[in-house]
């Protein structure tokens, strides 16, 4: 059972992700961050709910839209912000950027720019855990788009037949870039796919952090007990464009607004108020988070850039 403290911590993490993303977007508009990135705004409940059910020594694999997973698994936002600003103090010394943030010490095996490519890696990590008999579980994040890659099919099947300790969590945010999930699947629920692999599958409301937590917890426990993988489809929505160059011609403003009304943070706020949390307490959390992000930005801006010599040393172990 989640205590009120747990729920407040989940709230803090969701707000931390939201604020991180919004400030990162502003820095991009100011020309301080370069390249592109994929914002997680709107999907915070999936990462936070699912990671909250993990042990600190469990693993996750992330995606190109990975900032939320990273924060939910316990990353330091200073080092994340430094990575976005291509600094030497970033998680990847400024060599990886937004799409490749990994926090291996905290069990985050990394984001990826190749859609679906984290799924075989999660499967392999779960195989490694099983072989080492270390009782750890791998939580594999991917999107609806990734569910249509060949990598998905091969990996989920292999995880199922080898009974691996992995939980596949599909963040169905309704679009693979511009391609609507409605058109990309000949099934109403992606979770129905699970049947074809002989593993349990469930579709849930990805904007309800409590439901995500409860579902993930059951799946993670199953995996830890040696009962094999579970497939969770968490339905959610990305509020922002796919990347920074998306005109969003493929969806209507009304649709976006409708989903923004189902804001996962507002949902949790309402729940917390019902549990008699005072407004002041929520405000304090927000203020503390905002301060943390500003400190992260200052840390990043004051950090040095990596050198070519250092980059050369990174090519081989």
């Amino acid at each position: 059972m989640l205590s009120l403290e747990d729920k407040l911590e989940m709230y803090r993490k969701m707000y931390l992700i939201r604020t991180f993303e919004e400030r990162a977007e502003e820095l991009y508009m100011e020309g301080k961050i370069w390249g592109t990135f994929h914002l997680y705004v709107g999907e915070e409940a999936v990462a936070v709910g699912a990671c909250y059910a993990l042990r600190a020594d469990d693993y996750i694999t992330s995606t190109h839209r990975g900032h939320g997973h990273c924060i939910a698994k316990g990353a330091d936002v200073k080092r994340m912000m430094a990575e976005l600003l291509a600094r030497d103090t970033g998680y990847c010394h400024g060599l990886g950027g937004s799409m490749h943030i990994a926090d291996v010490e905290k069990g985050n095996l990394g984001a990826t720019g190749i859609v679906g490519s984290g799924i075989p890696i999660a499967t392999g990590a779960a195989l490694g855990c099983k072989l080492q008999k270390n009782d750890k579980v791998v939580l594999c994040f991917f999107g609806d788009g990734a569910a249509n890659t060949g990598a998905f099919h091969e990996s989920v099947n292999m995880a199922a037949i080898f009974n691996l300790p992995v939980v596949f969590i599909c963040e169905n945010n309704m679009y693979a870039m511009s391609f609507p999930a409605q058109k990309a699947f000949a099934l109403p629920d992606i979770a129905e796919r699970a049947k074809g692999y002989g593993i349990p599958g469930v579709s849930i409301d990805g904007n309800n952090v409590l439901e995500v937590y409860e579902t993930a917890q059951i799946a993670i426990e199953r995996a830890r007990q040696g009962e094999g993988p579970t497939f969770i489809e968490a339905r959610t929505y990305r509020w922002k464009g796919h990347s920074k160059s998306d005109r969003q011609a493929y969806r209507t403003k009304e649709e976006v607004r409708e989903w923004m009304n189902k804001d996962s943070i507002k949902f949790l706020e309402k729940h917390l108020r019902e549990e008699t949390v005072r407004e002041e307490e929520l405000e304090n959390i927000k203020k503390q988070v905002e301060r943390e992000i500003e400190e992260a930005i200052n840390f990043a801006l004051e950090s040095p850039e990596p050198t070519l010599e250092e980059a050369r040393r990174m090519v081989y172990a």
């Binding site: 950027g97 490749h100 859609v115 693979a176 870039m177 050369r312």
Partner: protein, 326 residues
């Protein structure tokens, strides 16, 4: 001939539009090429003209895109597949390298695979390790594939039209930084034969051989070098395979000094092939060893300063040519 200035991306779009209007067998497939217009906007407006049956948006399924193009080509269509980033070619490579490239040969000439796979390549946009690749040398290594990498809107249009008409699988390399560059393109229809290099600038002191983004960089370098009295010739190979050795030989015999410049890592790349061939065939004409100016031996870094440093820039070409002239 009437001409106008259009961008590289527009030139590619015109090539596809013209071939689609002429031949109902030509169709496009790829990720986000419909209403989104392609990740770099190349196919913008084509779904409006040709409809979703000929401009087919697919799920994120590179194996099925390249394999699907192969199968459709096998039964008589002329597919033009778009792979969103060149790096993603590796995912569908089995279908391209083991199937499309070999089918004509393995089936004893009984079947052909007329298809084009277009993909944006190259670094310079801050897209880091999975979205900045230049893997053209990999595919140039495969007998049965043709690999084209044009440097101007004029070449892009004429070569893409020829690629679509070609009866073999063609890999069409489009450098991201070229999409918005402009150049003169005739109003009238034209084709450029595949495998013909072009001397983009004549010169007498040294030959710079390159393709794609390195051609405009070499041309810029030639202006700086001219101020110092060095007159370089710039040969744009336009395709990596087939390679126009005749044009290269003609130039080398004239200048006796050669530099080959390319973006991917230097080791085992396009420059090695050119350098080896020139060494084997034109040794007696050389006044100095062939210079290979390629990328650093590392994946594309995210940091913008490093990203720029690991790929040959104008100043690198100038510096290396000066050394070559010493």
């Amino acid at each position: 001939m009437l001409s106008r200035e259009i961008t590289y991306a527009e030139a590619l779009r015109e090539a596809m539009r013209e071939e689609m209007r002429k031949d109902p067998k030509v169709f496009l497939l790829g990720e986000d090429i419909g209403i989104y217009g392609g990740a770099f906007g190349v196919t913008q407006g084509l779904i409006e003209e040709f409809g979703p049956e000929r401009v087919i948006d697919t799920p994120i399924s590179e194996i099925a895109i390249i394999g699907g193009a192969t199968g459709a080509a096998l039964v008589g269509m002329r597919p033009v597949a778009e792979i969103m980033f060149f790096d993603f070619m590796t995912i569908g490579s089995d279908q391209l390298v083991n199937q499309a490239a070999k089918i004509h040969f393995m089936f004893g000439g009984k079947a052909k695979v007329p298809m084009v796979v277009r993909a944006p390549a190259g670094s310079g946009t801050g897209a880091a390790g999975h979205h900045s690749g230049s893997l053209e040398s990999w595919f140039a290594h495969v007998p049965g594939l043709k690999v084209i990498a044009p440097s101007t809107p004029y070449d892009a249009k004429g070569l893409l039209k020829s690629a679509i008409k070609d009866d073999n699988p063609v890999v069409f390399v489009e450098h991201k930084l070229l999409y918005k560059t402009k150049g003169q393109v005739p109003e009238e229809e034209y084709y450029i034969p595949i495998g013909k290099a072009e001397v983009k600038k004549e010169g007498k002191d040294a030959t710079v051989i390159g393709y794609s983004i390195m051609v405009p960089r070499a041309l810029e370098a030639s202006k700086i070098l001219a101020q110092e009295g060095i007159d370089i010739e710039v040969v744009d190979t336009r395709s990596l395979r087939p390679l126009d050795t005749e044009t290269i030989a003609h130039s080398v015999k004239k200048t006796n000094r050669v530099m080959v410049v390319y973006e991917p890592p230097r080791f085992g790349g396009f420059g090695a092939e050119i350098s080896a061939w020139v060494g084997e065939e034109l040794f007696d004409y050389l006044d100095a060893p062939v210079v290979r100016l390629g990328g650093e031996e590392m994946p594309p870094p995210y940091n913008p300063n490093l990203e720029r440093k690991i790929v040959p820039q104008i100043e690198d070409i100038v510096r290396e040519i000066k050394k070559l002239m010493e």
